[in-house]
């Protein structure tokens, strides 16, 4: 099997149609034990969310989020076998619009709120790999 680039982590493990590392799959079953988010995990999540946290915040969040997740762990006790997940409570299906063209903003309006702009474009520091 050649892996889909979108699912490249698939080469590791597939569980219920999603792909995990072996460690992650173990985690799913490990939720039985008290939940603890280490400061290291907090830093990783913050990096993923592109959030600078100072050390005090890392320590505080590790404690607070662990307490929350530990409480949320009770959900695992609920029997939800064969229960369809609810992504939306709406009975709606097939809400589509006709391919009709409306107005665009003017380039001036587009950049009106920009922190930095040049030639009607948004300016950012050159993107380098993180």
């Amino acid at each position: 099997m050649h892996v889909n680039p979108r699912r490249e982590f698939c080469k590791l493990r597939i569980h219920k149609g999603r792909c995990y590392t072996a460690g992650q799959v173990n985690c799913i079953y490990r939720l039985g034990s008290p939940m603890e988010l280490t400061p290291e995990a907090v830093r990783e999540i913050a990096a993923l969310a592109r959030l600078d946290l100072d050390e005090a915040e890392v320590t505080l969040f590790a404690e607070q989020l662990s307490a929350c997740l530990d409480h949320f762990r009770k959900l695992q006790e609920v029997n939800s076998d064969d229960v369809e997940p609810t992504a939306s409570v709406l009975p709606l299906r097939n809400v589509l619009r006709a391919d009709e063209v409306g107005a665009a903003l003017t380039p001036n309006e587009v950049i009106a709120n920009a922190p930095d702009a040049e030639d009607f474009q948004f300016r950012v520091s050159a993107v380098l790999e993180d």
């Binding site: 799913i28 959030l51 915040e57 607070q64 939800s80 997940p85 409570v89 950012v124």
Partner: protein, 489 residues
């Protein structure tokens, strides 16, 4: 009118009558509200941005419309807009520093509809940052105070709206409710406040927090006023694919005063441990009042409601973590400049967001990560199905459900602020209807020993707004809990 001081506490129906009859001009009315704001707001701090000149200009247009006979259903009525709603050309921050100075080039559908109905907007009301919180102390700017006790919070996230309405600074306000943000501040400030069904009011222009939960809704000083506001803002919007294409009934006509024979469900489990005794007494008394008015009481079981805190605090932060990814300092809002794009990006978000917002982004990012999705997000979605199913089953037996809105009355500013989990647990009664996407109406039903308002909640099925308002109106007519806070200008 001679006594302008009191027009600010008139019911909208009476005010509209005076305006139509020319006994009061919209400009006079607006000035009265502006004066009251100027007197009250230094203590309450409800306004995030205050635009009296725009309000007066709108009032003049309303007066002209009365003269021309083209006045809309809310012409000249001053209403507050929670800062979660986009307002064309007017600063819209969602209570966050990251959006300081942002002026949207468009208005939210619900704002447009109120504007088209002739409403007058004196400004934008304070809120917890990105609608995350139940105190309005999470505002990125300043906390708002409870008009019943300035040392206490007005609730949140629509705390600015609740305080302003309760204090007579506006005739009514727009709020938004994701997990209780309309109903809980309504209860804390002693005003009727309605979370409509998910999809009843367009979310276009409502700055997203939890997209599958967010509901715009009205807050006012009477059920009748809620009906007038809902009449204008409800209805399908093609710009929101999740807006329900259902007819909007005549909500005023639904206020018949007659609730005889209606079956009201009582979820006994909601009256358990942790409920402040005065709250329990007041809510039970309200339920007894409903029975006296001719409703039949039935016990109902909502067994999965106990899981609503965990379910909600996984789903809403997950959606929020994506919804708030757009605040990067590139296209709008504030940027915190650092050497290089990614450091700038992280600093912009790290400094632009407050602690509660960052906590929820962290939870949401974590529960959506590949390895944890099924255990947290997937599980929460399944339990959401069970919570919704409980209500579906209950509504086969009863027409609506009565329950407390909050476990306690308003807390002190600063209370629980270092314990987010304790704070989240306070949302236990407002979360289940949010997760089920159904109607929740807060109604004032008494005061505790310290004179703080108590609210109870009528829960109705999806699109059951008219029913909830009808029962709420009958209850309001039979009781006397809608009082003016002890504030002196």
């Amino acid at each position: 009118m001679d006594d302008l001081a009191d027009v600010t506490f008139l019911g909208t129906g009476d005010t509209l009558k005076l305006l139509r009859e020319g006994q009061l001009s919209a400009v006079e009315l607006t000035q009265a509200y502006l004066e009251r704001s100027e007197a009250m707001d230094p203590q309450l701090r409800a306004w995030l941005s205050f635009t009296p000149e725009l309000a007066l200009a709108a009032a003049e247009r309303a007066d002209q419309a009365y003269r021309d006979g083209t006045a809309g259903p809310l012409a000249g009525i001053p209403l507050g807009i929670k800062d979660v709603f986009s307002t064309r050309g007017i600063e819209t921050t969602c209570g966050s520093n990251i959006l300081r100075g942002y002026r949207p080039p468009f208005s939210a559908t619900v704002v447009e509809r109120l504007e088209a109905a002739g409403a007058v907007f004196p400004g934008k009301l304070n809120m917890d940052e990105f609608a995350m919180g139940s105190t309005t102390a999470n505002s990125g700017y300043f906390p708002t105070h409870n008009p019943w006790d300035l040392a206490r919070v007005p609730g949140g996230s629509s705390g600015g709206s609740a305080a302003a309405v309760a204090a007579g600074m506006v005739a009514g306000a727009l709020g938004s409710d994701t997990g209780g943000s309309i109903r809980q501040p309504g209860a804390f400030c002693g005003i009727p406040a309605l979370k409509p069904s998910y999809g009843r009011c367009s979310r276009h222009g409502l700055i997203a927090f939890g997209s599958s939960l967010d509901c715009p809704g009205p807050m006012a000083r009477s059920v009748e006023d809620l009906a007038r506001l809902l009449q204008v803002i409800a209805g399908h919007d093609p710009r929101d694919a999740t807006s329900l294409p259902a007819e909007v009934p005549d909500y005023l006509a639904a206020l018949t005063g007659d609730i005889r024979g209606l079956k009201v469900g009582i979820p006994e489990a909601y009256f358990g441990e942790g409920l402040q005794p005065e709250v329990e007494r007041a809510v039970r008394a309200a339920i007894a009042q409903l029975e006296e008015l001719g409703a039949e009481l039935r016990p109902v079981d909502l067994p999965h409601s106990e899981h609503s805190v965990a379910t909600y605090y996984i789903i809403a932060p997950a959606e929020a973590s994506a919804n708030l990814a757009r605040y990067d300092g590139v296209r709008y809002g504030q940027r915190v400049e650092r050497e290089g794009m990614w450091p700038t990006w992280r600093a912009t978000r790290g400094e632009g967001f407050g602690a509660e917002v960052k906590r929820r982004i962290m939870i949401g990012t974590y529960v959506l990560s590949a390895g944890y999705y099924d255990a947290w997000y997937g599980k929460a979605q399944a339990v959401r199905t069970l919570i919704k199913r409980d209500f579906d089953e209950a509504f086969r037996e009863v027409d609506l459900i009565a329950a407390p809105t909050t476990p306690t009355t308003a807390f002190r500013l600063g209370e629980n602020s270092d314990d987010p989990l304790q704070m989240y647990l306070q949302d236990i009664f407002t979360l289940p209807p949010s997760l089920a996407g159904i109607v929740g109406l807060n109604l004032p039903c008494g005061f505790d020993d310290q004179g703080l308002p108590i609210g109870f909640q009528l829960i109705a099925p999806s699109l059951g707004e008219a029913l909830a308002l009808r029962v709420g109106h009958a209850y309001e007519q039979a009781t006397d809990w809608q009082r003016r806070p002890p504030l002196h200008a």
